[in-house]
Amino acid sequence: MTTQEILFYAFAALAVVSALGMVLNLRNTVAAAMSLVVTMVSLAGIYVLLEAHLVAAIQIMVYGGAIVVLFLFVVMLLNLRADEFAPGRQWLTKLAAGLVVFAAGAELIRLLSGELPEPGELPPGFGGYRMVGISLYTDYVLLVEMASLLLLAAIVGALILAKRRID
């Protein structure tokens, strides 16, 4: 097993374990948010292994450094109590979870025994900021403009929703 494969499986295991920790964590929402950070950072590690360097850096900066901090802000400000699964629906919850895991396992087995073509030869500088920037601002410049409009709408929306009423 080469170093890349060992790193990939390590990051993958870490991502799955912390994702499960986030979803199944009942007592502590802050711990769930920190598990989400661990998932995102390990996914960024996998992106680096897949030669997507700019995306990995942006994943850590934006997802890990801003979005989850926003979650943490809200959780800490609202000072939430512990959660619990719906009473009286425990068996339904467990059945649903079991079915979902079974379906995931079956799909995984089907995928893993399928055949995808071999990964191609990489162009030099693949995944670097230069190439992504060229692609972003020549082929997909309309997406960039729309993304900026979307962010403007989100800023205004979040401000209005969270503002205290004066009247």
Binding site: Q4, A19, T29, L70, V101, G120, D139, A162
Partner: protein
Amino acid sequence: MVPLEHVIGLSALLFVIGVAGVAIRRNLIVVLMSIELMLNAVNLAFVGFNRLWPGTAEAPRLDGQVFVLMVITVAAAEVAVGLGIVISMFRNRDSVNLEDVSLLKW
């Protein structure tokens, strides 16, 4: 280089865990975090497939990574607005439990 089936399998597994989170949990904030997990799983699939078909040296194709940047942008916008909704809900009902906002349920 890891066979790409494993990357896509990991993406599917994370997506399924995210769906389970949205279905099982009652805390709205954890539901939002599970949605983020689903978006991350999709990002992984995009990057994986882009690695599979990177184009040639004369015409490299980076569509997967560009779209991942767009997904991250949309996720950021959605989290901002979603948490605004959570704060409004908390101010009105003093709870972020999904079962306390089920007035429209028949």
